[in-house]
């Protein structure tokens, strides 16, 4: 599939609505801030689950991470770098809380030897996260906790970032769909999925029309600005469209 635009390999999204969120939040729009949180809380959560944290620790991490992001609003990093910044800040806060909970230890015995302060808040270059080095197709959809090695090395963080952008774009694309599509797709992707018979009853449409309607909805979805933006943002990555 041909691609017209070539953008620099940004970590971020090509969806203009999403890219505008940080500026809107900086200008005082609480709704835009809430959308940022809705988009990326799943990534913050997912990174946190790689660390042994209690609910109170999790709340501590969430408070500090989002508070720091509020502080950053209206300053660099660029909107496209926000997600990378957020991932690095989350990992740093998780490490801090885990280290504090572990208590004093002789130096050199910590398995995760990266100092807590090694990633300064203001200086997390997005390039430090090797987003572009991870082929999109190689990202495991169900990346569970890492058992061996560092709990969240840069490669893991890169995967989290790519997955977060993909998931956020998919959820945004679903929200953009015309009204009749949303309950249909919602029922199909629920856990567990509903049967055609149940969908037919709930939505009042003939079972045999579900397939054609779904195909139409998914076609619309592919044309949504959220998914087109995602495709554009990912175009220059290895694993992206080789024909681009």
């Amino acid at each position: 599939m041909g691609l017209k635009a070539s953008r620099p390999g940004l970590a971020g999204h090509g969806d203009p609505a999403a890219a505008a969120l940080p500026a809107r939040a900086a200008a005082g729009d609480q709704g835009a801030w809430d959308e940022i949180v809705e988009r990326y809380a799943p990534m913050v959560w997912s990174i946190c689950t790689r660390f042994p944290l209690s609910d109170r620790d999790l709340e501590d991490v969430a408070q500090n991470v989002w508070l720091q992001l509020v502080e950053q609003l209206g300053k660099p990093p660029e909107p496209a770098a926000l997600v990378g910044w957020l991932a690095a800040a989350t990992r740093r806060e998780c490490r801090r809380v885990v280290t504090a909970a572990r208590g004093p230890e002789p130096p050199g015995t910590q398995p995760d030897a990266v100092p807590v302060d090694a990633v300064p808040v203001d200086a997390v270059p997005v390039d430090a996260v090797p987003v572009d080095a991870v082929p999109v197709d190689a990202v495991p959809v169900d990346a569970g906790p890492v058992d061996a090695g560092p709990v969240a090395d840069d490669a893991v963080l890169g995967e989290e970032i790519i997955m977060a952008e993909r998931h956020a774009a998919l959820r945004a694309a679903l929200a953009e769909l015309p009204a009749p599509c949303q309950p249909l797709i919602g029922m199909l992707v629920s856990d567990p999925p509903h049967s055609d018979a149940a969908i037919s009853t709930a939505l009042g449409i003939p079972a045999e029309s579900i397939g054609p309607r779904l195909a139409r909805c998914l076609e619309w979805m592919r044309e949504s600005s959220a998914l087109l933006g995602l495709a554009e943002a990912g175009a220059n990555r290895p694993g992206g469209d080789p024909g681009a």
């Binding site: 913050v44 999790l58 130096p107 992206g240």
Partner: protein, 150 residues
Amino acid sequence: MRNDWDDEQLLAELREAMRARRAVPSWFVGTGKSAYAWHNIDAELAQLTYDSQTDADRVAVVRSENASIRALTFTSAHLSIELEVAGDSLLGQVIPLQAGTLEARTKAAVTTSPVDEAGFFALEPIPASPFQLRFRATDGAYVMTGWITL
């Protein structure tokens, strides 16, 4: 490229995206949304720059002298707040030395303590974790720490 996902792949990706969203507790999202209350507050954020419990350079010294003393330093662009746990109190000093007011905020309550001319203050009892400190100097400077868990 994502636009060459076929219908089944697109549905599978959607299912995964919705599952990831459902996995997040609502309180976790709520914590993030509430952080916006701090937007544009005229306070500088003081970062944790030293913690006796995690600073590897000092751990050996602390352990050999008195393992129970916990000391923390928060630093903003203009001042530092040093904290030390002493029994049931949290003692602290603002550097450079200056007077003002210190607020200790927990999720449930806010308590205010004076800071004397030598920058000293004492919080008793120690606020329930997590808590946050906000210092307002008599000259108007305003600094807050992140959430602190002791």
